[in-house]
Symmetry: C2
């Protein structure tokens, strides 16, 4: 009997694991809630209408159409039954595993304020992005129809909560829409009347980066017209309103990018977690006392050699996937009493701020401005090409037109009617 | 005072009229329910996941961003008050006009069976197309999860009702998905198990075309694996079920393409209409006894020199728009006691059937197969380039990437939450 490997999640970690097991003598079942793998680092560009959903998503089936040992299942995992070695889906189907890789990712954390989610959507799925895109566009249309300056103002306000990389990228991109790109299409108001706020509760934005880069990011955002408010906790979010300690901002465009929590599947593992609900695992990424269950990516809490937690970014998830795949492929490593520990190779991190600005930290080399942005562009284009997507757009479009290859097979969570 | 020209509808007719009035000494207000102009002839390709919404739609504001005499209004017209010379929007705003061009288009007609709409959506908007796309994709996913052959079958059935050009194109495109393109991605069923039905109540499909082309179309569809049922009226549509006189087909994929009715705005004009609710107008496209109100495009009933009704296609709408713009631009023509009548120049009509097949009738020259398809492709690509859209995709993509030009500003009717 072949070993049954079940992977929960078709994000960067899950896909990497499955791909690296292509030649392994195992049966793989990959389960995801959606039918597509999403290039999340560019999701903010869908939310700001720069890219189409089809440009940053590929059907998971298409990724594995030639890898015969992978079965793709569309479904939502609700429970892992560790002792029975099976997982249960929402529709009560159960799937047995010999080895389980939990790569279920994270979702936005509203710190217990569930009501806020409705007023301030996060940015994790294509649906989220389209929803935010429509709010922004509708808001500008409304502003164009209101002549009273005071009544109009709230439709020209944009609020991003959370100054991590996603919040910074989002605020920069919105400022470019609201201050530049689309403004010539509206007659009723001018770019100076639009306000883009980036609100961070902590003392500085991009707090995972060196302090000098945070400062650069603030400068670049301000050049774009973003009003950066650091050390400013949000106390309440209501319908079209953000309340701060000493002020309130009215806006139908409130975007939440302030902290994540691991997917609820982790809870059912009955494992120790950190404050963000992320599993605390053994050095080889497996659960303590359950050597056949691994957790990788945004759902796991890992520290680097210096004791700093690893960031929730694609390279970490992919390297962890690679580590786990290596163990599964090699019985001698898998069955070793003391398995090889996972080690993260930090290739750097970067965040863009608008059209031609970014900050980057490449193993201690700190860059900002155009050069960091050029590097960011190259890295992301190369990365997308890996998923046959940007290449699709640049080169294969004409070919696709004449062969009718299906590139946009995305099931978002749009309800049927 | 400049003449106030109000145009209802941002389809082919309305856009053409407004564009040709660029140098006219008038103020134009263009009103549409959505914020985008839609290249409807390719909408079936969005429904079948070949194109992204952004590929076939352009923001109306972007079309007119350099034409300063146009004001774009997002709104739904509910009533034309002929005598007051104003129109009323759903939100009760009223807009005065000196000249009105009603280019409001048509919607699908369920012949009084309103309940059918929910079970068998039509294909008029981007929302429709995305909805149909998701139904088709979800259906294949479900089929992949059901092992019982009989229970599975309905998820592998696809039904298109109505054998006009849209129905034929849709059936051909679905057959290509369901019989070819995506099948290698599913393990649980084979292409022979999928069924695509094209159901036409009348004696033949493509009944606006020569009978020889209808016959060719049937042959080409059958080659693709479509089961063409002519002379087969639908008697009832229920949830996931189409009832015919002697049979019933179970399927979650039912698409309605059988007949249209003019938009409800026409009713408020209090004008004589045909059975499809289309206004019957004077030879110059104006309303009888209301020389300042014109109706063009799919919302109007016009006959050619031989007494045959003009088809509901883009070239007719655009030529009518051109005619009306010419009248508005030239006071001597506009004020003439006997205005110039509209004359349609038939440049031909064509319908595709799948990847490399089509039928075309170019002023009596009847073509079918690959040559007709090649012609169809060229015409449509050229046409899209006119709207800077295909060109966008082919040539400007890299440029857009680096300049962050917003290409995908579409507000579909997706609800906010």
């Amino acid at each position: 009997m072949k070993r049954e490997v079940v992977i929960i999640g078709g994000g960067f970690g899950g896909i990497k694991t499955a791909k690296l097991l292509a030649k392994a003598d195992v049966n793989i079942t990959l389960i995801d809630k959606t039918n597509h793998h999403l290039f999340q680092p560019l999701l903010y560009q869908v939310a700001t209408a720069a890219l189409s959903p089809g440009d940053i998503a590929v059907p998971i089936r298409a990724i594995f159409s030639k890898q015969k040992n992978v079965k793709v299942v569309l479904g939502e995992v609700v429970e892992v039954l560790k002792d029975q070695k099976e997982i249960r889906l929402k529709d009560d189907r159960c799937i047995k595993f010999d080895t389980l890789v939990v790569a279920c990712g994270a979702k936005y954390n509203y710190f217990g304020n569930h009501a806020w989610e409705k007023h301030a959507p996060g940015l994790k799925t294509i649906s989220n992005a389209l929803n935010i895109r429509e709010r922004i566009l509708m808001s500008l249309e409304k502003a164009d129809q209101i002549d009273n300056v005071e009544e109009r103002q709230k439709y020209l306000n944009f609020v991003v909560i959370g100054g991590g990389p996603t919040g910074v990228e989002m605020a920069g991109a919105i400022a470019e829409i609201a201050k530049r790109n689309m403004m010539r299409d509206y007659n009723n108001f001018s770019p100076e009347q639009t306000h883009v706020y980036l609100i961070e509760a902590g003392p500085r934005i991009l707090n995972g980066y060196d302090e000098s880069l945070s400062q650069k990011a603030v400068e670049m955002l301000e050049e774009l017209g973003v009003e950066v408010m650091q050390g400013t906790p949000v106390t309440q979010i209501e319908h079209e309103k953000v309340v701060l300690e000493n002020a309130a901002i009215e806006s139908p465009n409130i975007i939440w990018a302030a902290g994540v929590v691991a997917n609820a599947v982790i809870k059912t593992l009955d494992v120790e977690t950190d404050r963000a609900g992320r599993a605390i695992v053994a050095p080889d990424m497996s659960l303590p006392r359950h050597r056949d269950i691994f957790v990788i990516g945004d759902a796991v809490h890992m520290k680097d050699a210096d004791g700093n937690p690893l960031p929730a970014i694609a390279p970490v998830a992919m390297q962890q996937g690679k580590h786990v795949a290596k163990l599964i492929k090699n019985p001698s490593l898998y069955d070793a009493v003391e398995r090889e520990p996972f080690q993260y190779l930090d290739k750097g991190s970067m965040a863009t701020i608008g059209r031609a600005r970014a900050v980057a930290d490449i193993r201690g080399l700190k860059l900002s401005g155009f050069i960091a942005w050029a590097m960011w562009s190259v890295v992301h284009i190369l990365f997308l090409i890996g998923f046959r997507n940007r290449l699709h757009v640049f080169v294969e479009w004409m070919w696709h037109y004449f062969t009718y290859k299906r590139g946009v097979r995305l099931i978002t969570e749009r309800p049927y009617d």
